[in-house]
């Protein structure tokens, strides 16, 4: 629960962000000396953190059950890759091929991808958000699948085989920096008088409207901001794995992200970050039992919902009344 603004919270978010960015920079500088395997794992963790924290704004805080987050990731991945593959080569000349030029290019690609994903979020969100619960989940699922099928049918973006040879611009610095930014944005948004509106919309939409909140506005903002960061994550992913295909952004991917949000405790950002880390590391740790990994994973999901629906990391739980 939030204490009043003022006091130690006044400057803390910006200082924390600055600190995180500096730390990311430091790790980035040290990266040549870090085992590439661990670097790769860290990058995957960071990308999942961005996905989970952004989805948490929609599902956790605002209570809108979205099952199509992977679709927005796809938009970001494809559009940023299209930029670096098809547009950027024309620009590289004047900008110079050095790290600064490359970094600027990558940032542009990422932000462009994010903005396109945000636009997709708006297009999906506006009509969908009048629906509730199950229906909203389905419509978002439907949109996620449609986005995937669209990319599957666009030949110059690789069709069913996807895009290859995407330049490896994603460094550990970019991943950690954007993860920090995502957490910063979500936390700052929610912990404000304005941001209490997200929670109010979740808790009781009718009461929220009765005190003058435009609940549609909150749902759309959550959706669009969530989609933006999913797009950023997609762009980071594409320039990390260097290859993207529609099949990697399907319903299963959306579910994986949802599981992180639930495991972390919906509306609990630190918990969700921990859950993203845990669920990314778990497959690595479970390599010995890799065959049974997914079976355990799904079993865990069932048990969790029955035994501890508030998530593993949520310690300030108050029992919710049934819907």
């Amino acid at each position: 629960m939030d204490r009043t603004l003022g006091g130690s919270f006044r400057f803390a978010p910006h200082l924390a962000l600055l600190g995180a960015l500096l730390a990311s920079g430091l790790i980035g500088v040290c990266s040549p000396w870090i085992d590439p395997y661990y670097l790769d794992v860290m990058k995957t963790v960071g990308i999942n953190v961005i996905l989970a924290v952004s989805l948490n704004l929609v599902n956790g805080y605002t209570g809108q059950f979205s099952l199509g987050h992977a679709g927005f990731m796809a938009v970001g991945a494809y559009l940023s890759a299209a930029f670096t593959l098809f547009v950027a080569p024309h620009w590289l000349g004047p900008l110079g091929g050095g790290p600064f030029g490359q970094g600027l290019l990558f940032l542009t690609a990422l932000l462009g991808g994010g903005l396109c994903a945000a636009l997709a979020g708006l297009v999906v969100g506006v009509p969908s958000l009048r629906l509730k619960g199950d229906y909203l989940a389905l419509v978002t699922l439907g949109f996620g699948e449609i986005i995937r099928v669209i990319f599957q049918n666009v030949d110059f973006l690789g069709g069913a085989l996807g895009l290859n040879g995407i330049p490896a611009y994603t460094t550990i610095f970019w991943v950690l920096a954007f993860a920090a930014v995502t957490i910063f944005v979500v936390v700052c948004l929610v912990h404000s008088t304005y941001g209490r509106g997200f929670l109010a919309t979740h808790d009781d939409e009718i009461a929220a409207e009765a005190i003058g909140l435009n609940t549609t506005h909150y749902k759309i903002v959550a959706f669009v901001v969530g989609a933006f960061f999913a797009g950023i994550a997609g762009g980071l992913y594409g320039h990390f794995k260097q290859t993207i295909a529609p099949v990697g952004f399907n319903f299963t991917k959306s579910i994986e992200i949802v599981v992180m949000v639930i495991l972390g405790g919906m509306g609990n950002t630190p918990g969700v970050v921990l859950a993203a880390i845990l669920l990314t590391l778990l497959p690595e740790v479970l390599r010995p039992v890799a065959e049974y990994r997914m079976i355990l994973y799904s079993f865990l999901l069932i048990v969790l919902m029955i035994a501890r629906p508030q998530g593993l990391f949520n310690f300030s739980y108050r029992r919710r009344k049934s819907a």
Partner: protein
């Protein structure tokens, strides 16, 4: 014209299977107000039960085929009841979101267990019924299609009899309308819900066999797309309405087949989602459903 009739027949045959699956979704939604994501995987298990049963019961005769069908239906009914008992019943009072996620968990569990124990690679479903082809004018009708349509019709008729002419069927309708009132007049809602799952899952099992007859390549993930589409069919027809689910299934099957045979054939999977979105945005109650107003 013959092209049209042929496609229509193919579409109805596919639609019949969607109808069977859709009815299962709609029945569970009717009594529990939630979408059983695991239903599509029960369908898949039905196909595999048939696959393994065919190793014991010699396929290729009508009797054998029927036996395999029955075994699959019973097996799936039991599976459905077990899922309800162990995964959903503990969450009877929880927010719908939690149950939805549990359903997703069960679905994943079935899929991954299937991959582990049945093998992830597609396997060939044997011809459990004797296959023949008929010519009706220019129309080519396969015996499997006839079986699909006949069995579906028979099952729906049997279901209708159960729902309207038996006590348990009346109890099901009561629980769907108002669970608290049903409990107050002495209906054991637990038994009714179990029974609903058993029926819906049995239909899914039948659907699994019938689907595998026409599309003999089966694998543990085969239920995902048909399941999603059947769900769209249930919403299209009006979620909670059994005739609606049947109607929605038929419409979707026909539309999908026609799209598949047209210029936009790659969009045939997406057409179901497009229909879903259009329905949810413009008429969420579906064709035969009723809009409900929330009391403030």
């Amino acid at each position: 014209m013959t092209e049209f009739s042929q496609q229509l027949l193919n579409g109805l045959s596919l639609g019949a299977i969607y109808a069977l699956l859709a009815i299962g979704y709609t029945m569970v939604y009717g009594v529990l107000r939630f979408i059983n994501f695991a239903h599509s995987d029960v369908f898949m298990v039905g196909s595999f039960i048939g696959f393994y049963a065919a190793k014991v019961i010699p396929p290729g005769s009508p009797g054998g085929g029927l036996a395999i069908l029955l075994v699959a239906m019973v097996g799936c009914a039991l599976l459905g009841m077990a899922i309800e008992r162990f995964a959903y019943r503990p969450l009877r009072k929880a927010p719908t979101l939690n149950v939805l996620i549990t359903a997703i968990g069960v679905s994943l569990l079935l899929e991954y267990s299937g991959q582990k124990f049945f093998g992830a690679a597609p396997q060939r479903f044997p011809a459990v019924f004797p296959t023949r082809e008929f010519q009706l004018g220019h129309l080519t009708i396969s015996s499997n299609q006839v079986i699909v349509i006949a069995v579906t019709g028979g099952l729906i008729a049997a279901l209708r009899w159960v729902v309207f002419r038996t006590r348990i069927g009346t109890a099901m309708r009561a629980v769907a309308l108002n669970p608290q009132a049903a409990a107050l007049v002495g209906i054991n809602t637990d038994i009714v819900i179990s029974f609903t799952f058993a029926l819906g899952s049995a239909l899914a099992g039948a659907g699994g066999i019938l689907y595998a007859l026409n599309y003999p390549s089966i694998d543990p993930l085969m239920g995902v797309m048909p399941g999603l589409k059947a769900f769209v069919a249930a919403v299209l027809g009006g979620i909670g309405s059994i005739p609606g689910a049947a109607l929605g299934g038929l419409i979707l099957g026909v539309v999908e087949t026609f799209v598949g045979g047209s210029a936009w054939s790659t969009g045939k999977d997406a057409i179901a989602f497009a229909i879903l979105i259009v329905i949810l945005l413009f008429r969420p109650a579906g064709i035969l459903g009723r809009m409900t107003v929330e009391k403030v």
